[in-house]
Subunit: 429 residues, 2 copies
């Protein structure tokens, strides 16, 4: 999980005697993708797992040697690689804005630069999913939303997507691996193929109810929706848990289905809709008698913004004299703010008003209260030791709570779905 | 890598006695994403690897048991799971059109339905990347294109993306894992952080040349491009292999850079450009003195179409009387063509004119010549045995060749970048 240039840079820096200069890298986003109002940090727990296991094994070293990609000296260094520095950053689930110093990695240049690709791969994908999911969660206004897009993302992305969507407020996933690895609640009943496998729709419904009980959700649109609903209630009785609609104009179909269910006496049977939903479609169904949403493609592909656009940049390093120097690229379109940074979200009456990013001396501590806000960075790794609060199922639950609390602080205009400016300005001080 | 409903369906089908009905599933795309002119099948070799290793281990079975997701009977069946059926499909790298029967999976309902998510995850992601990459390859008109988007895709997606882009004509990748696993050529020299690590740009360039030789490519836009180029030639001499430009208006910057290099006598120094390129930007640089392209975000996220939109549907199954029945969903917006299918690309004078999809009896053989074209499906798995031609590095090279040959057959209008109709019609017979 490494781009070749990371290794060629270390090789060359070893030659020039700069490879082990103490350095600070920062991950941040220059802008919010899709002109959204806020972003959601996701993937931190997964990144920390990657750091813990980041090693160059025999197969990797053999490949690098056989293809003459790196020097013998660097091969020796890679064989012993273990990140021994410090990492702090925004808590997973926290919101971010343009320029927020989301991750701050401190170590030698060599040990920090080699994490560039893996840090960005995790943060850019997981945050892209969370950025989309948070909008869908809000658009659903309390109705449950399930992630069911595994088939529209590559295999491991699917697991990561289920986790990121849950952090951003989704209630469940279809992905069993996400349930097993991260404790995300799983759901799922049947596809059209199950109905088509049977000689009649009634036989398929009966088989499902025999195993899952009448509380299950029946997919009623394989042939004709009206007949499907009638058959479902005939087979299950009026105590049927739910029906799922996966085609047609969902507002119209849901209204007709609700009326029919009610007329059949199935007033408690819930309606789940699942066809090509995104945040706009969910918002458009607000007035419809829909009880739950299932979202696929659009959440796992970031709903139009499939990568969060974060970058990982060297912002400070020591010189040979031991003095720290803030550094940054100077080109107009990609300039960055040199120097190590801390960040606070300034609140007024409990409402966020500003993302304050303070360029500080090396390892300066922050008095968030004095800065008028809530400190945003937390320690993640100290001297190579990973803080295990952020890992596993517990880390996911903490992130989900952090996300919900931070969203509550936002001004109301942050929840407009239309393109626009960030909900609060980022101010560098 | 399984959606929960696959297992609940098998459980219920076991109860109704239909789980082991011989069945045929088909993967196809209802339309081409982004209104493109053709699609590229990618991921087949990766999917076959997944089939080979598709097992339910102790940890998975324990999770399913502890969470009461499936019955004891199904747990026993899953513990022994091994796909024993047949799979045929479009060769990897082949083109596809709406309705092309890209993958045909035949086995019992249970053994075939459980591959649904993994088949679609692989095909939908890898084909989305290949769909974008083939357009970039054509837009580059012979100039080399490298994939360097690992950081904009999740970790394993990054490796799959490098592979898919190579199949669709890219020349190299930054991703070392893709080099090690799939034999894709790797490339990469240095990032801005390498220049910023050093006390001066000249020192950074010297360090890089010391290790990689004067044939290397120097990144010249960290501070000021003109000064960067002058410094590069001062340090490396006029034999410098290349420079890389990663910011600004690339057409303008490349023209200025070429003029300056020539005036300094570095007439053989090549120019690589890399900032936010997609197929449109590459086409726009056709007249510019650019020697090579590096593409990141847009190729790994499918350039606006991050999932290929393929679905996996039951199209035929046996009844209890042993007769095969073609089946399909009937709803208007998602109707599918029932029945097992073979496909032929009809050619006239070597140019593709039609995707002919023939609904056939079970296991009918096809006389492609009689059908007036080239047969598109190849055997992939027979009786659970995977044809290893399609695996590993060899499979990737075959796919790259297949892709290049199939693209050559397309009519010229297939290479328009604008949205439009598929280059050839799909006709069901």
């Amino acid at each position: 999980m490494t781009d070749r240039y990371e290794l060629t840079m270390i090789d060359a820096a070893m030659r020039s005697g700069t490879a082990f200069r103490p350095s600070v890298f920062e991950a941040f986003a220059r802008r919010l993708p899709g002109a959204r109002r806020y972003g959601v940090v996701a993937g931190t727990g997964r990144f920390l797992d990657r750091v813990a296991e980041f090693r160059f094994g025999d197969a990797e070293l053999r490949f690098l040697r056989d293809h003459r990609i790196v020097s013998a000296e660097l091969l020796d260094w890679l064989a012993d690689y273990r990140f021994s520095g410090d990492i702090r950053g925004y808590a997973e689930g926290e919101l971010y804005f343009p320029g927020s110093p989301i991750l701050v990695v401190e170590g030698t240049f060599a040990e920090a630069v080699v994490l560039e690709t893996v840090a960005l791969s995790v943060l850019n994908y997981d945050s892209a999913v969370a950025n989309a999911a948070t909008r869908m969660t809000r658009a659903a206004k309390g109705r449950p939303v399930a992630e069911m897009g595994s088939r529209r993302a590559s295999e491991e992305s699917a697991v990561a997507a289920a986790r990121a969507a849950y952090i951003a407020g989704f209630d469940a996933t279809s992905n069993l691996a996400a349930g097993a690895r991260w404790g995300i609640p799983t759901m799922g009943t049947a596809a059209h193929s199950f109905t088509l496998l049977h000689d009649s729709e009634a036989e398929a419904f009966q088989a499902q109810i025999d195993v899952l009980g009448v509380g299950t959700t029946l997919l009623v649109d394989t042939y004709d929706i009206e007949q499907g609903i009638r058959t479902a209630i005939e087979v299950a009785g009026t105590g049927l848990g739910g029906i799922r609609l996966d085609s047609g104009d969902l507002a119209e179909v849901a209204a007709d289905a609700r009326a029919l269910l009610d007329s059949l006496g199935a007033t408690g049977t819930r309606i789940t809709v699942t066809s090509d939903l995104d945040e706009y479609a969910i918002a458009g169904l607000q007035a419809s008698p829909v009880d739950a949403y299932g979202v696929g493609t659009s959440v796992v592909t970031g709903s139009g913004a499939p990568a969060a656009g974060m970058v990982y940049k060297l912002v400070a390093r020591q010189g040979d004299d031991g003095a720290w120097v803030g550094v940054g690229k100077r080109s107009e379109d990609k300039a960055s703010h040199p120097g190590e940074k801390v960040a606070v979200r300034r609140l007024e009456g409990g409402v966020a008003v500003e993302e304050a990013v303070l360029v500080t001396d090396h390892r300066a501590t922050l008095d968030a209260a004095a800065a008028g806000g809530r400190a945003l960075q937390v320690p993640l790794v100290a001297g190579g030791e990973i803080d295990d609060r952020w890992l596993g199922h517990g880390g996911v639950e903490l992130a989900r709570e952090r996300h919900a609390a931070s969203v509550e602080e936002l001004p109301v205009e942050a929840h407009r779905l239309a393109r626009g400016e960030p909900a609060i300005p980022t101010v560098f001080r």
